[in-house]
Amino acid sequence: MATAPDGQSVRGLDQETLARRTVAILEEVGGQPVPDVPLVETFRDQVAVRIPASHSFAVLERLRDDEGLRFDLLVDVTCVHWPHRPAPLGAFDVVYHLVSIQEGHRVRLKVACPDPDEGVDSAVPLWESANLMEREARDMFGVTFRGHPDPRRILMSDDFDGWPLRKDFPYRGH
């Protein structure tokens, strides 16, 4: 019996269309794609659109407000550490997962962040849910979210030294 892949949207736009619309929005806000890397990655029926850090906030805002896309729910913000990845992408990816409850589709955005101290713009002005999740991402990876209203540590204690989910942080023996 052939069944649809798990997690596929029932009534929303398909992933290719979402990727195309997101890329169009990136062009409208004047963002240049990160050179020499694919703009859209597709794996197992899921797309990820790569957005330059300079335009991440503008794109997120447009995705939230765009008629027909309406990404009203910021499901997840997290990071991935690639310590040896060369420029222009650099060592960190900030990954956003967006869902549109109204339209019933979801998309993934990846923002490369070469310098964790410089970081990326906080999404808290757009979604309140970014508050806790960005706090956690900073707590674990040391990536700054510029303009975050409350950038304290959240899971680790306030006096903890180090960023536990970075690859150079030992699994045991810290």
Binding site: D6, Q8, V10, R44, T78, V95, S129
Partner: protein, 419 residues
Amino acid sequence: MSTNTQLPEAGEGLSPELIEAQRVETVIERVSDDRMVVNMGPQHPSTHGVLRMVVTLDGERVVKVDPVLGYLHRGMEKLAEVKTYNQYIPWTDRWDYLANLQNNVAFAMTVEKMMDLEVPVRARRLRLLACELARISAHLVFLGTHAIDIGALSVFFWGYREREKLLSFFEMICGARITTSYTRIGGVMRDLPPGMEDALKIFLREFPKSLDEVETMLTRNKIWMERTKEVGAISSEQAVSLGITGPILRATGVEYDVRKAFPYLDYDEFDFDVPVGSVGDVYDRYLVRVEEMRQSCRICLQLLDKLEPGPIEADDGKVVLPSKERVLSRMEDLIHQFMIVTEGPVAPAGEVYQAIEGSKGELGLYLVSEGLGRAYRMRIRGPSFVNMGCLAPMGEGGLVADLVAIVASLDPVLGEVDR
């Protein structure tokens, strides 16, 4: 506190002591501008685990709530980077430790999606059954503890009596009551024992009646309604902005359920309704969860009728452990077994996100693989963690006693909040 108490007119026949006592009370109210900071938790009985809230009080009124998280942080995401996929399954029991089965299923599904591995129909059915039973069991804990926080002790016993039966079923399914570790990459660890289906059908038919019992006790109960109606209400817009999912979001009237919007495990083949509330207060959350239990029963009964015999593990020698006889008689299977145990079942490089509708909301796993038998990075999007964001908007401005009701209605499981 005593805003309705009026000072008696002089000469109304009250004793001078009483008049003096009431005068003192009003004086205390007038000078209570000083704010007080109270630590609620991490060892407070009503916080359901090691949740600590720093609460600023103005008398009985809550001015500010600041949840302090991390007391149960065990580095679940870091651990996923050093354990092979099968080794990690026992750790998934310890995220939301009241609905372990659904964590097992979510993790196995994510890894299989990465591998693009097709799981046999019976295994999918058994997983769906496990998910729904876990939902009922988790909601029963919510019901019991929520009631106990508000003062209805007997509901706690009734809820746990039913949960006890479910835990016995879990024991029949996988040999453990809490640390189930039911799934394997490619299937489930074992089939239902003989006689279980009939016993489960009897339970599922009886169970709604015991829910009726609970509802008779609570739903129209004056005290219950006073304590929960209009308490901790939140608008649907704010709930969506806060990233709330699951019963809390649906109590505000937003019909978002991963099982309907992004179906997995053939949920689209079963008839069930998604209950929604209208006000988004503590009372609505209670009603939504009670109805969800009934709907889960409905799904399970349909599923048991559709359940057909068949394999419970995928036919892929590089992922699923071969049987002992084959290991001892065929060289390829011996090699496969060695590789699966030592290196783990290998998933190609890539990244996937798989969400399921957990008992608390959208449980999403974002898995990044580098082509090894373990994850390069695994993000656990625990719904309880994100749902903690609504504690402050709900609790601030209310009474301390309401805060207890609100925490109970959020139903946080700290294993999932702190991971």
